[in-house]
Symmetry: C2
Subunit: 463 residues, 2 copies
């Protein structure tokens, strides 16, 4: 296959250095390398690199820097912010061949893995060794741990373990100029100078390429206890959150669903029987887990009974088995809404005290602009993280992302974050100012300039 682009020499140089097998162009580049999850295919990039080693990555980046060639690092493409989407003139650097567990250290309670390892495979390996990983999210089957780290992924267990950032003890990163920063620390505490790993976690591939990670491990969990609770409104859900934080030392998830979401999903999920009646209240999925399933179950049942008695919850469905728990999670994951036309998915952060007012203002504003719109709210209430999904009858000339201009100013007014967990990517770049001051954005540019002075890593993303 000939390469007729003006930067053809960079592709030739990459082939020379890495071998033809690591460098694809044209039709040899699979569509998954330029297709965001749940979207139509984008544009085919100039080339796809699939390195096999840190040294490959280092040489590739040095060559791209020498040729002033932009590089888009890529994991599983499930980030929902177009953060790994290439342009036509970009080179994609996929970590997919650098996968697998390097080591599980039971004394240090750590796992070391290659960046391209799928999250689910990593979870399985860790479980086999008698530990639990602190990261879990819906895309576990297709996302990669390097991408989880690069985007500081959130997910369903943040209330227990913190975000991905809190799991990362060590990191190996290759900078734009090919420098390898190998900081594969396994110690829980390390104050030997600036904590460089923090710069790269959540930087979405704009400051360096993650090649290996060391994650802390947690004790393996027995089967969780899971309940779906009914409360009157957002204020009642927040009161329940405070009670759960205190009463449930083994709290694993605290996930809220507002009425439109809960009702729609129960009605439109094939074979679903609503675990609790769909009404005007808020539903909260609570999960607890420890090393001892029976102990957790006993404590959790007592806590639920106490909450019912004290009126903290109006009703509760307690999962009697794994199938029940799975059914509750199926509602929460809400795949039924994905079929709605032009659906856009937001992952805003809203301070708890502002949540009720934000939901009301957001619902009102969107339906005023698009009467008949579906506006769904659900998410990780325990982490101040609200998902908003919108499907509206857009007029000719309107795009789904026109919702952004209605929603993000409301996030700004609430003192919230335009991204709690998915990251900024391309979709939210122009809205960063709703959550960050000019001084903060200028400081981010200082950082970008310090580590990628030519602006070659994932251009057009984040800032």
């Amino acid at each position: 296959m000939s390469d007729s682009s003006s930067n053809g020499d960079v592709v030739a140089a990459l082939r020379d250095a890495l071998g033809a097998d690591c460098v694809s162009t044209g039709d040899a580049i699979g569509a998954r390398h330029f297709t965001n999850y749940g979207e139509a295919a984008g544009v085919r990039p100039r080339a796809l690199l699939r390195p096999r080693s840190v040294d490959d990555v280092s040489r590739a980046l040095a060559i791209c820097t020498a040729h002033r060639q932009a590089v888009v690092p890529q994991g599983g493409m499930t980030g929902l912010a177009a953060g790994a989407e290439p342009g036509a003139r970009d080179v994609v650097l996929s970590l997919e061949r650098m996968q697998g567990v390097v080591e599980i250290d039971a004394d240090a309670a750590t796992v070391t893995a290659w960046a391209g390892t799928p999250l689910e495979a990593l979870q399985q390996a860790v479980d086999d060794a008698g530990f639990a990983l602190g990261i879990d999210l819906g895309a576990r089957g297709s996302c990669q741990i390097g991408g989880n780290v690069a985007t500081n992924a959130g997910g369903n267990r943040v209330i227990r373990y913190g975000t991905t950032r809190e799991q990362v003890l060590g990191l190996e990163v290759v900078l734009a100029d090919g420098t390898v920063l190998s900081s594969l620390n396994k110690m829980l505490k390390n104050n030997a100078g600036y904590d460089l790993r923090q710069i790269f976690v959540g930087s979405e591939g704009t400051l360096g390429v993650v090649t290996r990670v060391v994650l802390r491990l947690h004790p393996r969990l027995a089967a969780p206890s899971t309940a779906l609770c009914a409360v009157r409104d957002t204020a009642a859900a927040l009161a329940l959150l405070r009670a759960a934080r205190t009463a449930c030392s083994d709290l694993l998830s605290f996930e809220a669903m507002w009425p439109a979401f809960y009702g729609y999903v129960c009605e439109h999920t094939p074979g679903m029987r609503a675990p609790l009646p769909a009404d005007d209240g808020v539903k909260v999925l609570i999960e607890c887990a420890s090393g001892d399933a029976a102990q957790t179950a006993g404590r959790f049942e007592a806590v639920l009974a106490d909450w019912l008695e004290r009126g903290l919850i109006d009703d509760a469905a307690l999962a009697q088995n794994a199938a029940d728990a799975q059914a509750f999670w199926t509602v929460r994951e809400g795949l039924a809404i994905d079929d709605l036309p032009g659906l856009v998915n937001f992952d805003v952060g809203i301070p708890p005290r502002e949540t009720a007012a934000f939901i009301e203002a957001c619902d009102r504003a969107l339906k005023a602009r698009w009467p008949g719109a579906h506006v769904f709210f659900f998410g990780h209430l325990g982490d101040s993280n609200l998902h908003v999904c919108v499907s509206a009858p857009y007029a000719a000339g309107e795009r789904a992302h026109d919702v952004d201009a209605v929603l993000y100013p409301l996030v700004r007014d609430a003192g919230g974050s335009v991204s709690a967990e998915h990251g900024i990517g391309r979709y939210k770049r122009d809205w960063l100012g709703c959550s960050r001051s000019d001084a903060e954005i200028a400081a981010m540019r200082r950082l970008k300039h310090a580590f990628d002075p030519l602006g070659l890593l994932n251009p057009g993303k984040v800032i």
Copy 2:
């Protein structure tokens, strides 16, 4: 008082801008502003600034930058690494007047406080509001929260809550040029661009001056259950750590003491009766706590009985009341060793698997160099953090810090960290290379240059 220094005009400019009351020189500067904890007084700095507001700090730093005047930010001076020690030509910026709690948000479970707030006062305010702070350490009465953040302080509860970094949700920082970065986020998750707070946590005042912090809060703890356990050796202590992580979901502390330390402290602490006999084994102080003291006590007693039966521990003393627990902690805090001449205190990080070999090699090397030396090992085994305290009969011309040249190469050989929790400061700056590669140190310099291009903030510290 006249100021005859060559930079006298900077002092005049600072007095003009902040008022004479905020700027001290000469004898008006209290010795505590140039005396590290436990050491003789150092040299008096050019001036002492005690600003009352963020705006004061911003104007002061802008003036110092305009005059190319070095500034040493200062908290409680308890960091043990000379990280806030000024030189004769430096201006000290003390945060001590900017203290107090700004807000406790019970819904978000956060506290916002001024940097100069003493840790103990903050703990008390948080406790009064029904929460627990995730930070606790011996210097709680004199250290300041801004200093805790600037040094990423560790302490006794890291195994439960993580380091100070994990507590910091929001941060307000003033850069060398006077720019105020006010990122007072209260949300558990926020991926709106680069996480700037991470750059400043643990940077020891070399990248910016912390003025306000937002910390996450945890549920208030009832009285803990505390036991002192005897195990054979380091390997047995690590096996016990693994068991405790699994069996004690409410584990709060896991602190080890090796025989020389335990024996010396028990013998030399006035009025102390050794809770367990001093012998050749390792002693482990274990503390558990939840919201319910009786539940914790019941579980903990059962766990101890199980460990005795399974031979995981050889003996245990269970605190029957708060006085017992305090006595155990008095041994662990080991103030009795502070009277030894020329004592030097190390806070190294050692990977668990290397701990036993490191202790043996370190003890042997130090006693070969200084026969008759006291070499004590104790610390936060659950966090891979070992304290080494050395008092040796130094010859004429030797200094206590000559121990560094024996100890840090052994840390390097063990793949450890020259500082697990105190930070690098001045004392460990020249030893950073034992724990960080040239590439890592070069990356740290990129960061320093990006945020303090003139090198005016805390010069000579960290790098």
